[in-house]
Amino acid sequence: MASGIVQFEHVGLRYGMGAEILSDLSFSLREGGFYFLTGPSGAGKTSLLKLLYLAQAPSRGAIRLFGEDAGRLGRGELPLLRRRIGVVFQDFRLADHLSAFDNVALPLRIAGVGESEIASSVGEMLDWAGLADRSGARPATLSGGEQQRVAIARAVITKPRLLIADEPTGNVDPDMALLLLALFDALNRIGTTVVIATHDIHLLSRMPSAEIMRLAKGKLADPTGALRHPPKGHRP
């Protein structure tokens, strides 16, 4: 199997003593790729994403991220890997007590970045996300689309190598969905590997060059063939 930014080798996941939610997943994602993860509800998309952003350990198999075997890393080393992954959660997971600015600044504060650097980086990011005039607003006063953009800004503020988004357009209108897709595309063009879980057929059709991973009953199909035989070099 070709090496990539993410490698799954015979990965399985079960919760407790239940049946396997995910079975024998083996695939590789290349650096700079753009991937859609699709499949019916209950197929295991969110569980697969949890494995990707290290919120869940697999029941079997091995996961390699950025060349490191996540299962062999000590508890003190995993945060370093997580800091290289940006996650846009389906329910945004914004901190209600923090302003849009402080929500976006969260990963930088965790990483110990100085406040002056945070001020300039977060200011630029909010400007990029079209939220410059909403920086002091709490999540409760933001619209769904604004909350979504804050969540995306937080996910990309550290310039992650891998961006994972779970149904990022599920709660926004079609125009906003296109705007968000343009944001992901822009990030991908500067080298970020993007994985988006979605049901949205229109979103898939808007990115014909993206590779598709289809999950059904815990097993992964590879309709574009890109997972097992990734094309050499980065996509144009």
Partner: protein, 291 residues
């Protein structure tokens, strides 16, 4: 290398708590009891020590022959005076002996009752009482040596039991305090569970998360410790003044050297520190449920 989060910014990551919930009040009550139990244990230890050391010593000479009794008393006084570790040796005047017997026997000077001669002294430091007794028996066979420790022994035993009781209460209160702080840490983890999980997922280390929780608990614990400890010290000062007003030699033995009482002042900050460490331990254990 994982860098620590920036101080002020990191402090804001959990919602501002302020003084909320019963935690400071419970810690204040625990600290009040802890300081009182420690003070009782310390005071009773000194009281038991002063009783056990038998500071007063007396030698009784019984003889129906007044001349022989006076002669023997002189010998005993001489021996006691020359014994290392004994001070202020004196022959108790017969009138004083008679006065001490008046409550039981009435005016003994009015009747013909032979009174014993009594030589008494104060013990300072270590005195070899066995050697003294041997010398006294050799010189005056009728001399009977006794120390206050002998007749105070049952009381000293009772006080020692009270002291262990106070120490036991101290341990129970300390254990209850640890349990309260552990529950408070778990409650904070439960109420802030979503935020803590988010911090974990975006790369916060266990130490960073523990620092956030323990900082909040330490603040509550410190406030409770200051209030509870302060109230206990005020009560101790009041009781100390009442004790001094009694003028009792016996209860005066409860007064430890000043430096030892100052040790009690360390209990509130140590309590807050313990709370912080217990909270840290509880957070680390709770975080194990996250991969």
């Amino acid at each position: 290398m994982i860098r620590r989060g920036s101080g002020d910014g990191e402090r804001r990551l959990l919602p501002p708590g302020g003084v909320t919930g019963p935690m400071p009040g419970i810690v204040a009550a625990m600290m009040f009891l802890t300081v009182l139990a420690a003070a009782a244990s310390l005071g009773l230890a000194y009281l038991a020590s002063s009783l056990g050391s038998g500071r007063a010593l007396s030698v009784e000479i019984v003889s129906a022959d007044a001349a022989a009794k006076a002669r023997d008393a002189g010998r005993v006084l001489d021996i006691v005076s020359r014994t290392p570790g004994l001070e202020k040796a004196r022959l108790v005047p017969e009138s004083e002996v008679a006065d001490s017997l008046r409550p039981w026997l009435g005016d003994v000077t009015a009747v013909d009752i032979p009174l014993p001669a009594i030589v008494e002294a104060e013990m300072r430091g270590a005195a070899d009482l066995k050697a003294l007794e041997t010398r006294l028996k050799a010189a005056v066979p009728s001399a009977r040596l006794s120390t206050s420790a002998e007749w105070l022994a049952p009381l000293a035993g009772f006080i020692a039991a009270l002291r262990w009781l106070a120490a036991g209460i101290l341990l129970i209160v300390a254990a209850a305090s640890v349990a309260v702080v552990t529950l408070a840490a778990r409650a904070t983890l439960d109420t802030q569970g979503e935020m803590i999980e988010l911090l974990h997922l975006i790369g916060a280390t266990d130490s960073q998360i523990a620092r956030l929780v323990q900082r909040r608990i330490a603040g509550d614990a410190l406030l409770g410790s200051v209030i509870g400890g302060g109230a206990a010290f005020l009560l101790l000062i009041f009781l100390g003044e009442r004790l001094a007003a009694l003028g009792s030699d016996l209860l005066g033995g409860m007064s430890a050297p000043g430096a030892d009482w100052w040790l009690l002042l360390l209990i509130p900050p140590l309590g807050a520190l313990l709370a912080m460490l217990v909270a840290r331990h509880a957070v680390f254990r709770a975080l194990k449920r996250f991969p």
